[in-house]
C-alpha cells in the first residue's frame, strides 16, 4: 500500500473522527488528515439538544475522543473548508489555496440546516441547532420564563421543547403536519409523545405553519401563523430538518441523489472516494432501496465500514437503522425499517409500548417504541436483536409481556 499519500477525511464530525480512529485501528500507518470548517474536534451531537441546553453537561463532555488521542494516533485536524475535489488527479483543494493528494477520500460532510423561507426567517433570535456553537448560542436564551417558539415537531424540535421546559421556559411548538414526527413513527406513539409534552406544559399546535416573523422592537419577535393567529417570543428555534451537504460531491461530478449515492460498501461513483453518515444515500440492507439515515448509530457504524474499505476492504454496511430521541424522562426508539412492515404487533406495559413491524412473510423488519427510559432501554435492545436476526416470532408471544423477549431470542 502506498503510504506516501494521506488518507483524507472531509468533515470533522462524528463520522470523520470515528473513521480516523478506525483507520489507525485497522493498521493504516500513513498520514491521516481530518479536515473540517468547525474549530472543534469531533463531538457527539445527541447532547446538543438535551443535556447541553439544560446545563447538565458542558461542551467538553461532548467530545468524541479526548484531544490527546489525536496526537497519540497522529491524526491531523485541519480547520479549513474544502472547496473542490479533483477526482482524476486524486486531490482536494482547501479554501486557503492548498492542494492535497489523497490515497483514499471520505466525504463525511453531514448536512445543512433547512431555513425558513418566510419574511423574517433570518432575524436575530431565530436560531437553528446543528453544531456545538449553535447549542452555545441557544442555551443562554433558555432562562426561566422566556417565551420560546419551536417550529417543527420532529425529533430535534421536540427535544429542544423538552429541554426548554426543563429550564422553566414557556414553550410553544408548531408543526405543519397533522401529527408529530410525521411518518417516522406509528400514530399511536406520536399520540403518546403529544400527551407527554402537553402534560409537561408545552403548548402544541398541529397543522400550523409560520407565515412571517417581525421584530417587536423590545428584542422580542412577533410570529404570524397560517391560521391568522400571532404569538410573541424571545427566541424562535427552527427544527425543520437538514439537507445533505452534497455540494462538494456535486461539483466533482459524483453521483448525487438526495444524498451522495454510494453502494453497500459506501463507495461513491468515483474510485477511492467514499461517503458516510448523514450525507450518504446508501442501499437499505432490508429493501435494497436507497435511504439516508441521520443518526448517531449510522455515523458510528458507517465510519468503521468506510475506513475498512478506504484500506482496500470490501465490507458491506450491514447494520440496520437505529435511532432514539430522549424527551424528558422518556425515550423513543426506532430500529430497522418500520415502513417496510405490513402488520403491527403491540407489546405494551405501564405507560410504555413497543410496536413490532412484520412484513408479508411474517419476518420482523422494524420496531418502534416509546416509554419511560428505565423500562424501555433493555426491552428495546432485545426487540432490536430480534429484528437484526430477521426472526419470525409468534405474534401472540411478542405481545405477551409474561413471555420475556430474551426467551424469544433464545428460542430462535
Amino acid at each position: 500500500m502506498n503510504l506516501a499519500l494521506p488518507m483524507v477525511i472531509v468533515g470533522a464530525g462524528h463520522v470523520g473522527g470515528r473513521a480516523a480512529q478506525a483507520l489507525r485501528e485497522f493498521g493504516w500507518m500513513g498520514e491521516i488528515l481530518l479536515v473540517g470548517g468547525e474549530r472543534h474536534l469531533p463531538y457527539e451531537r445527541p447532547p446538543l439538544s438535551k443535556a447541553l441546553l439544560t446545563g447538565e453537561r458542558d461542551p467538553a463532555s461532548c467530545a468524541l475522543r479526548p484531544r490527546e488521542a489525536y496526537a497519540a494516533e497522529r491524526i491531523t485536524h485541519i480547520v479549513e473548508r474544502v472547496v473542490a475535489i479533483d477526482a482524476p488527479a486524486r486531490e482536494i483543494a482547501l479554501s486557503g489555496g492548498r492542494r492535497i493528494g489523497y490515497h483514499a477520500l471520505l466525504l463525511a460532510t453531514g448536512g445543512h440546516l433547512r431555513r425558513l423561507a418566510i419574511p423574517g426567517g433570518d432575524l436575530h433570535g431565530v436560531l437553528g441547532l446543528r453544531t456545538l456553537d449553535d447549542a452555545a448560542a441557544l442555551a443562554p436564551r433558555l432562562v426561566p420564563g422566556a417565551k420560546i417558539l419551536v417550529i417543527g415537531g420532529g425529533f430535534i424540535g421536540l427535544e429542544v421543547a423538552a429541554s426548554a421546559r426543563k429550564r422553566g421556559c414557556e414553550v410553544s411548538l408548531i408543526e405543519a403536519a397533522d401529527r408529530l414526527m410525521g411518518r417516522a413513527v406509528p400514530a399511536s406513539i406520536s399520540e403518546r409523545v403529544r400527551s407527554l409534552h402537553q402534560d409537561r406544559g408545552a403548548r402544541l399546535r398541529l397543522r400550523t405553519t409560520p407565515m412571517e416573523i417581525a421584530p417587536l422592537g423590545d428584542g422580542r419577535l412577533a410570529i404570524a401563523f397560517s391560521d391568522g393567529s400571532e404569538l410573541a417570543a424571545s427566541t424562535v428555534v427552527v427544527g425543520v430538518g437538514i439537507d445533505p451537504a452534497t455540494e462538494l460531491a456535486q461539483s466533482a461530478s459524483l453521483a448525487v441523489n438526495r444524498g451522495i449515492a454510494v453502494n453497500a460498501e459506501l463507495a461513491t461513483s468515483q474510485p477511492d472516494i467514499f461517503a458516510a453518515g448523514d450525507v450518504a444515500e446508501f442501499p437499505s440492507v432490508l429493501s435494497g432501496q436507497p435511504i439516508c439515515q441521520e443518526s448517531w448509530h449510522n455515523a458510528e457504524t458507517q465510519a468503521r465500514t468506510a475506513a475498512r474499505n478506504m484500506l482496500g476492504g470490501h465490507e458491506a454496511h450491514t447494520a440496520l437503522p437505529w435511532l432514539w430521541s430522549d424527551q424528558y424522562d422518556h425515550v423513543l426508539q426506532i430500529g430497522g425499517e418500520p415502513a417496510l412492515g405490513s402488520t403491527i404487533v403491540t407489546r405494551a406495559w405501564g405507560g410504555s409500548e413497543i410496536r413490532f413491524h412484520l412484513d408479508g412473510k411474517g419476518e420482523l423488519v422494524g420496531v418502534s417504541g416509546f416509554g419511560a427510559m428505565a423500562s424501555m432501554a433493555r426491552e428495546f435492545k432485545l426487540a432490536r436483536m430480534l429484528v437484526d436476526r430477521r426472526l419470525r416470532p409468534r405474534a401472540d408471544q411478542l405481545s405477551d409481556t409474561s413471555v420475556p423477549l430474551k426467551s424469544l431470542l433464545r428460542a430462535a
Binding site: 432501554a377 433493555r378 435492545k381 432485545l382
Partner: protein
C-alpha cells in the same frame, strides 16, 4: 482491606441480570451470570447512565444509552463508544446473600 457489604438475597437478582446497589455516594451494578455474581461501578464510562437498566447477555453488560459494552468479569470496554474500562469489585454469595467488596 475493605469489608464485605451485604447487597441483597441472591434471589433478588435474576439469572443473567443486573441490579442496582447504592451505598453512600456511590452506586454499583451487581450481576448474576451462570451461577456467579459480579460487581462493577454503576455508571457507564461513556455517558453517566446507570447500567442497571442495561442488558446482560452472558458476561457482557450493554449500556442502555449507546450500546457501550463491558465485560463484567474484568470491566473491559469492548469497543466504541465506550473506551474507558469499568471498575470492578470482588463479589461473592454467602448463606444465600450477595456481598461485594465496595470502596
Amino acid at each position: 482491606m475493605t469489608d464485605w457489604v451485604k447487597v441483597c438475597p441472591l434471589g433478588d437478582i435474576e439469572e443473567e441480570d443486573v441490579k442496582r446497589f447504592d451505598r453512600g455516594e456511590r452506586t454499583y451494578a451487581v450481576y448474576r451470570v451462570a451461577g456467579k455474581v459480579y460487581a462493577t461501578d454503576g455508571l457507564c464510562t461513556h455517558e453517566q447512565v446507570h447500567l442497571c437498566d442495561g442488558l446482560v447477555m452472558e458476561h457482557v453488560i450493554e449500556c442502555p444509552m449507546h450500546n457501550g459494552r463491558f465485560d463484567i468479569r474484568d470491566g473491559r470496554a469492548l469497543g466504541a463508544p465506550a473506551c474507558v474500562n469499568l471498575k470492578t469489585y470482588p463479589a461473592k454469595v454467602e448463606d444465600g446473600f450477595v456481598f461485594i467488596q465496595a470502596d
